[in-house]
Symmetry: C2
Subunit: 440 residues, 2 copies
């Protein structure tokens, strides 16, 4: 039975791509999503969260022939543009190769696009407003409650995929079973989104092709471009104590705080005070678990590994899960258990690796990027990559611009760093000797 | 309001002690326990799990004047007695001080004793067969379902204590809230209990005053004495793979495996094969979380920090939680929030520390104790403690025979170890010089 009947819980980005890719691979797919049909939702242009899509996400989209179409919806970002407290700006390219960009894209827009593509497949059934209530993981059976009419349906398949996000109901059911390792760890910081409108005539009010960062040591703001000239900004501030969101209680306090810490921002957000006071900050969590496979049930995306957003890899990692799951099902058409075990072996370590990297990048973004030594190091790293493209590749570059497994990328970066620590002083010595020699 | 009305969820060891101690401190206590009344349960002598109680547990019992009574129920264990594969035995004392023992005691017996003592208090109400269904942590409100008549009761207090064990319903409710860090991590090994009957005339068939260990590198058996001459044995074997419980499927396989690895055990357990095949192995989990305090709700014991049993500290740590919670409530009679925050600050770090120590001791018990170098090190450590009692104290000794906070004990042990690494070679040098000098 190489054609399988597959149940997917969750119709977010990862679930929608899974439905589409599995259908293209010849499987029959039924997808159940808790929320309403995103095709009927009004996605206000530029008002939704945006994401950075990079090589891993694009590789998965390429497997279903959608890479180019998606890139047309996205805005390339060539590097980070840092905004100082004194309104100065500094640009730092992501790569020495001008073709290596990450791309800002609307979460809602991409989700709708993928649901539309999945719906167009003959062997895909989509069910909205269906909440996952119970799972028999070993048997691949799930019960969903239809929120419209209150009825429950029990469905079963050869395979049940939990693509239902950080607070996954499928995972919750696995957790009740024995020997399920799990951790959830909240970040000290939460986030709040702010909308930066386009300038007159749809112009971009700040540099279009960059990810903007206002690094302030222990907190920051970022902004990603939308394709209509607007930006989606996000504040990452502490949940409590000094600099917490709740410390600013009225328009005046908001105004003064931004004037002090983000002096160029109020000009970009005319209704800043209102937006700030109307918004509710959200928390950020890292979730890890194991196993990802129990019987006929498998986890993909945030339900298996929710990570903080600071490496721009959440969706990319989820799309990579889907691609590798499909490849493993293809490689083992007659042995589902083998395919799932192989998927798990390939992915769990990498889910943990990108979770660690994302947490580490939080400190890089809010603090290190503002330091001259860090910028020098990045320039040196880009230079090395240009000079020795076959030998040296920065960790950022491997994570964002390659499909090298995350854990492998970390190992390579470590051994490169060790080599540089040996080679760099040697090189300096050789240069010094050469100079002395030439002056003789 | 120094007298508080307090709800306790859970009437196991920690919950029962909490009820008793809080009542003695003048509070009004209502305790709700999921199971039936342990006073009506038949506790088969020697057939229940036993525990090692040591200084921390005894200190807490002393606060309610029960230390001596409890010690009368217990069997002192002066050290570890290792059983080799060749039937040889080696004894290793826990301390150079013959008064420093740990005590084997019946879990069921002690639980019943504490429930009886709590029931005798005027301001304690006990409710059995009440299952915690919902908690409003901030408000200190809990809903319990009476399993006898199906009715639910909602109760509220100045303080709600979650003492409901590793799979705590109270903690489960906290977890749904925001910013609750949590992890559960299963050990590679599970456990199975075996009953070793007393010899004729109620004699102890093996050394009475010891904790017996059969260390086999990657798995082990232990046995603790009961006061009637019997022992409770526990196998700690892998959950899967080589040496897993499920590998032995019939009496013949059980017989041959024990003959190979535990040759002196079959003589001690006449119905070994039957016991083994009738039993279901259980898993072992480490649970950590934070916060332990949300609003008017606080966690104590396993619900806050479930640990593996290899340091014999699970109950001791829970009893210490109870003592320190009571002390903090006493120190801040008019400020509950301050008392709870102070309890949390004093305990969370220590909960994590004993969880780490218990995991580390697993490797010590099943492997290291069988090595001559380890035994030599332990002898050296005991000697140091005897020679420099004011300066040196082994980690085991601080954990088992003092009330030094666990994390502090680890720090002290580390700095002692560093000092020894410097002092020890110096001492050897001085001795060598002295010998050479004296031979001159």
């Amino acid at each position: 039975m190489s054609q399988k009947s597959i149940i997917i819980a969750g119709g977010g980005l990862t679930g929608a791509l899974a439905a589409l890719m599995l259908a293209r691979d010849g499987h029959r797919v039924s997808l159940y999503e808790r929320r309403g049909d995103i095709r009927n939702a009004e996605i206000v242009h530029g008002r939704s969260i945006n994401l950075a899509i990079s090589t891993r996400g694009l590789t998965a989209l390429d497997r279903v022939g959608l890479k180019e179409e998606v890139l047309e919806m996205a805005v390339p970002m060539r590097g980070r543009l840092m905004h100082g407290k004194d309104r100065s700006t500094t640009f730092q390219a992501y790569s020495s190769d001008p073709n290596e960009n990450i791309y800002s894209i609307s979460r809602g827009g991409l989700n709708r696009f993928l649901i539309e593509k999945a719906a167009a497949e003959e062997n895909v059934e989509l069910h909205f407003q269906h909440r996952c209530e119970e799972v028999d993981a070993r048997a691949g059976v799930a019960t969903f409650k239809n929120d419209e009419n209150g009825e429950t349906v029990e469905v079963s398949g050869d395979l049940l995929i939990g693509a239902d996000g950080a607070y996954s109901a499928v995972r919750q059911n696995l957790m009740v079973g024995d020997l399920f390792d799990f951790s959830q760890e909240y970040l000290t910081h939460g986030y709040m989104e702010l909308f930066l409108p386009a300038a007159e005539g749809g112009e971009f009010p700040i540099e279009k092709n960059a990810l903007h960062i206002w690094p302030r040591g222990h907190f920051m703001m970022i902004a990603l471009p939308n394709d209509d000239g607007s930006f989606t900004g996000t504040l990452f501030w502490p949940n409590k104590g000094d600099g917490a969101f709740s410390n600013l209680k009225d328009a005046d306090q908001v105004k003064r705080y931004f004037a002090e810490w983000f002096p160029d921002v109020p000009d970009l957000i005319p209704d800043l005070e209102k937006q700030y006071l109307d918004a509710n900050p959200s928390s950020l969590v890292t979730i890890r678990c194991r196993p990802w496979v129990v019987g006929k049930t498998v986890l993909v995306g945030d339900s298996a590994h929710a990570i903080v957003p600071f490496y721009g890899q959440g969706m990319n990692a989820g799309f990579e899960d889907v691609r590798i799951l499909c490849e493993e099902l293809e490689s083992h058409p007659e042995d589902l258990e083998e395919a799932l075990q192989s998927y798990q072996e390939l992915r769990v370590e990498n889910g943990n690796a990108i979770a660690d990297l994302a947490l580490a990048n939080f400190h890089e973004m809010q603090d290190h990027v503002a330091r001259p030594t860090f910028l020098l190091y990045k320039k040196f790293s880009n230079l090395l990559q240009k000079l020795f493209p076959g030998w040296y590749r920065s960790l950022y570059s491997m994570v964002s611009f390659s499909n090298t497994p995350y854990a492998e990328a970390i190992r390579i970066a470590r051994s490169q760093d060790q080599a540089i620590r040996v080679v760099f002083p040697l090189m300096l010595m050789i240069i010094a000797v050469a100079i002395v020699w030439s002056l003789k």
